[in-house]
C-alpha cells in the first residue's frame, strides 16, 4: 500500500493498462504535450509516444466518434473529455453509435471504449462548467457507468473499465484529483464493475451515494455519530452495473435510506435507486426514501450561492433525521 492522490491513481491505471495492452491509447484535448488539463496523463506522452497519447482538436463529437470507430475495429480507446460538461456535444456518438453498435450488428461488432473525465461541479465554474452528467449517460442500455470516489477505487475501477468489452463512461471529480488515499501497489489490482463498497458501517440509516458525494456522506455520518446515530454509507461505485444486493441488504438492515448526489433531482440517479428500493424492499421501509441533490438551478458563480446550491453534510443530516423521525 502506498498513499497517493486520486490523480496519481488514475495515472497509474492508465500507465499500467497501456503497458499491458498495446491496443489501449489515450486521446483528448491537452492530454499529451500539456500532460492533461488536470495533469492526469502526466508523463504518458514521454513514455508511450504521440501514437498512443494524442492531443485532439476541440471536436468532442468528432473524436468521440473516432474513438468509437477505433473500438469497432479492435483498439481500446480511452477518450478523455476535459470535463463531461463538454461531452454533451458528443452524446450522439455515445448513445447512437457506441451503446447500440453491438446490438444493431447482432453481436458482430463490440465497442470496448472508455469515456473519462471529471463530472459535476468544482469551485465557482458557473452554470456551463458545473454539471453532473450521470443521468444523460446511465439512461441508455448498452452503456456502463462508473464513478470512483477514492484513489483506490479510481485505480482499480479504471483498470476494470479499460479491460471491459463494452463502452464505459468513467466519471471522475475535479475536486477529487488531489484527494489522497491508500492504494495497493499490486500491478493487477482491479476492482470489478458492479460491486458497491460500504464505506462506513451503521445500523440506523443508510446513506446511498456515489462519486464526490461519498465524502459529504461520510462527513454527515461522522457528525451523526456524535448524536448517537449510526449511519451506514454505501458507495455504489458503479451505477451500471448496479450492486442491487448490497443496496437492499443495507436498507433491509436500517429500514430507511437517503440518496445523496451532486446533480439535479428530476430523473437523477437517486430517483432510480429510490424506485428500485421501494419496489424490492417495500415491506422493510419504516420511512419514505429521501434524496439530497443540487438545488434545481443552473449552478451560480457567486461563492455563497454555489455553496447553497450544492448538497451539504448538513442537508444530508437533516434528511437522515427526517427518515429517523428525529428533529
Amino acid at each position: 500500500m502506498a498513499e497517493i492522490t486520486y490523480r496519481e491513481a488514475l495515472n497509474q491505471a492508465l500507465r499500467e493498462e497501456m503497458a499491458r495492452d498495446d491496443s489501449v491509447f489515450l486521446m483528448g484535448e491537452e492530454v499529451a504535450e500539456y500532460d492533461g488539463a488536470y495533469k492526469v496523463s502526466k508523463g504518458l506522452l514521454d513514455e508511450f509516444g504521440e501514437k498512443r497519447v494524442v492531443d485532439s482538436p476541440i471536436s468532442e463529437l468528432g473524436f468521440a466518434g473516432l474513438g468509437v470507430g477505433a473500438a469497432m475495429t479492435g483498439l481500446r480507446p480511452v477518450i478523455e473529455f476535459m470535463t463531461f460538461n463538454f461531452s454533451i456535444l458528443a452524446l450522439d456518438q455515445v448513445i447512437n453509435s457506441a451503446a447500440k453498435m453491438y446490438y444493431m450488428s447482432d453481436g458482430q461488432i463490440s465497442c470496448p471504449i472508455v469515456f473519462r473525465g471529471p463530472t459535476g461541479a468544482a469551485l465557482q465554474l458557473a452554470a456551463q462548467h458545473s454539471q453532473a452528467c450521470e443521468t444523460w449517460y446511465v439512461h441508455s442500455p448498452g452503456l456502463k457507468l462508473v464513478t470512483p470516489a477514492t484513489p483506490a477505487d479510481a485505480k482499480g475501477l479504471l483498470k476494470a473499465a479499460i479491460r471491459d468489452n463494452d463502452p464505459v463512461a468513467f466519471m471522475e471529480g475535479e475536486l477529487l484529483y488531489n484527494f489522497k488515499g491508500e492504494v495497493p501497489e499490486d500491478d493487477d489490482f482491479v476492482i470489478p464493475l458492479g460491486v458497491a463498497d460500504v464505506k462506513r458501517e451503521g445500523e440506523d440509516v443508510t446513506i446511498l451515494t456515489h462519486g464526490k458525494m461519498v465524502h459529504v456522506a461520510l462527513q454527515a455520518a461522522t457528525k451523526l455519530e456524535k448524536d448517537g446515530v449510526h449511519a451506514e454509507v454505501v458507495d455504489l461505485r458503479s451505477l451500471r452495473p448496479l450492486d442491487v444486493d448490497t443496496i437492499l441488504a443495507s436498507v433491509k438492515k436500517t429500514n430507511r435510506a437517503v440518496y445523496v448526489e451532486e446533480g439535479w433531482s428530476y430523473v437523477g440517479v437517486g430517483a432510480q435507486i429510490v424506485s428500485l428500493i421501494q419496489e424490492e424492499a417495500f415491506d422493510h421501509l419504516d420511512a419514505p426514501l429521501l434524496r439530497v441533490t443540487q438545488a434545481d438551478v443552473p449552478m451560480p458563480y457567486a461563492k455563497n450561492l454555489e455553496r447553497l446550491a450544492k448538497p451539504s453534510a448538513d442537508r444530508v443530516i437533516a434528511a437522515c433525521n427526517r427518515v429517523l423521525y428525529r428533529n
Partner: protein, 368 residues
C-alpha cells in the same frame, strides 16, 4: 459480390496496370471481362432492390426502406476496386453497397425482412446492415454520424500500420453536419487512409442542395486541405477507374481523399416518399432515367466496343433476376428471430456482479 480477398487483390492489381489489349482503352483502361463483371453486379443491385420494393409493397419489409436505384454505378465503381480486407461504411441507403462489398444477397434480403438469417439477425433492418466478415461496417441512421466512425477505422489502420483503405459514403445533405466537419479535419491532420465519398444526388429528401449551401460539394473539403475529385457516378467505368487510382494512392500512404460523386436517385427518398413532387419535377426524373441510367450507360459502352450483345445482356439480366428471386424466397422462408434474441447482444460483457437491466422483465438464460 466476390468475397475472396486474393481475387479482389489481383483485381485491384489489374486495375492499377490496365491491359492495353482487348479494347480496354475504350473502357477507361478496364479489362472487358472486368467491365462485364461490373455490369453483372449492377444488374443484381437493380433487380435485388426491385424485389425489395415489391416485398415492401406487400408488407414483408417494414420501417424505412431507402432504395439506391439509379445510384448503382456509384456503388459498383467505388467498392469493387477494394480488397476484401478494406472497410466500407455508409448511411441508411446502403443495400447495394453491402452487396458490392460481398455481403450475400440472401443475408441482406433476410435482414430487410427482419428474419433470423439476416446479416444482423433481423435486429438491424434496412438501415443497419452489418457484415464484419466482409468488413461492411453498416448501415447508420444518423445523418453524418458514420463519418467520424470511418475516421476511427482509418485511425486503427494507421495505428496497426496496415495498408487497408476505408471508403465512407454519405449523402450530399450530410456535409452540413458538424460531425462531417470535425471528422474531415481530423482525417487531414492525422493523414488517415479514408476516402470520403459524397453520393451527390442533388437532394436531401425534398431539399435541393443549392437551397442549403452557397457552395458546391467539391468545395467542402477545401477548409481541411484534403484533395478532392469530382466523378460522374452514372458512368461506372469512369468511377471505377478514378477509385482504383485513388485507392492505390491511399494504400501507399497518400492520406485521405474527398470525392464529389455525381449521381441521381430514380426513386423517392424512402418507400414512403413520392418520386417527384414540389421539390423535383416528373420531367427531371424521367430525363435522368432516360439519359443517365448507369446500367444502360455501361451496357451501351460495352456494346459499342463490341464486348456485349443484346442476347448476352438479357442472359445476364436473367441471372440477376434469378439471384434476386432466390434471395427473396430465402428471406421469406427464414423464420423470425427467437423471442430470446430480444435480450442478446445488448452488452458484450455481462459482468458477474451487479445488475445491468432494470426493466423487470424475465430474461430466459440471463441472470441479469
Amino acid at each position: 459480390m466476390s468475397t475472396d480477398t486474393e481475387t479482389r487483390e489481383e483485381e485491384a492489381m489489374t486495375d492499377e496496370t490496365p491491359p492495353q489489349d482487348g479494347g480496354a482503352a475504350d473502357l477507361n483502361g478496364i479489362a472487358p471481362e472486368r467491365a462485364l463483371e461490373i455490369l453483372r453486379e449492377m444488374l443484381l443491385y437493380r433487380r435485388f432492390e426491385e424485389k425489395a420494393e415489391e416485398a415492401y409493397a406487400i408488407g414483408k419489409i417494414g420501417g424505412f426502406c431507402h432504395l439506391h436505384i439509379g445510384q448503382e454505378g456509384a456503388a459498383a465503381g467505388s467498392i469493387l476496386p477494394l480488397r476484401g480486407d478494406d472497410y466500407v461504411i455508409s448511411a441508411y441507403r446502403e443495400h447495394t453497397q453491402a452487396l458490392a462489398k460481398g455481403v450475400r444477397p440472401r443475408a441482406v434480403m433476410a435482414e430487410l425482412f427482419g428474419r433470423r438469417d439476416g446479416s444482423s439477425g433481423g435486429k438491424g433492418g434496412s438501415m443497419h446492415i452489418f457484415d464484419v466478415e466482409h468488413r461492411f461496417m453498416g448501415g447508420h441512421g444518423i445523418v453524418g454520424a458514420q463519418v467520424p466512425l470511418a475516421a476511427g477505422f482509418g485511425w486503427t489502420i494507421r495505428y496497426r500500420e496496415g495498408d487497408q483503405v476505408v471508403v465512407c459514403f454519405m449523402g450530399d445533405a450530410a456535409v452540413n453536419q458538424g460531425a462531417f466537419h470535425e471528422a474531415m479535419n481530423m482525417a487531414a491532420v492525422w493523414d488517415l487512409p479514408v476516402i470520403f465519398v459524397v453520393e451527390n444526388n442533388a437532394y436531401g429528401m425534398g431539399t435541393a442542395f443549392h437551397r442549403v449551401s452557397r457552395t458546391e460539394i467539391h468545395e467542402k473539403a477545401s477548409a481541411y486541405g484534403i484533395p478532392t475529385e469530382v466523378v460522374n457516378g452514372q458512368d461506372v467505368l469512369e468511377t471505377y477507374r478514378a477509385f482504383a487510382d485513388m485507392i492505390a494512392k491511399v494504400r501507399d500512404g497518400g492520406g485521405p481523399f474527398f470525392v464529389d460523386l455525381h449521381t441521381y436517385r430514380f426513386k423517392g427518398h424512402s418507400m414512403s416518399d413520392p418520386v417527384s413532387g414540389t421539390y423535383r419535377s416528373k420531367e427531371e426524373v424521367e430525363g435522368k432515367i432516360e439519359s443517365a441510367d448507369p446500367i444502360r450507360v455501361l451496357a451501351d459502352r460495352l456494346k459499342d466496343a463490341g464486348h456485349l450483345t443484346q442476347k448476352r445482356l438479357e442472359e445476364m439480366d436473367a441471372e440477376a433476376r434469378e439471384m434476386s428471386q432466390d434471395a427473396l424466397e430465402f428471406a421469406d422462408a427464414s423464420p423470425p428471430p427467437d423471442p430470446e434474441a430480444l435480450y442478446t447482444h445488448v452488452y458484450a460483457e455481462i459482468n458477474p456482479n451487479g445488475r445491468l437491466f432494470f426493466d423487470g422483465l424475465e430474461r430466459p438464460g440471463f441472470a441479469r
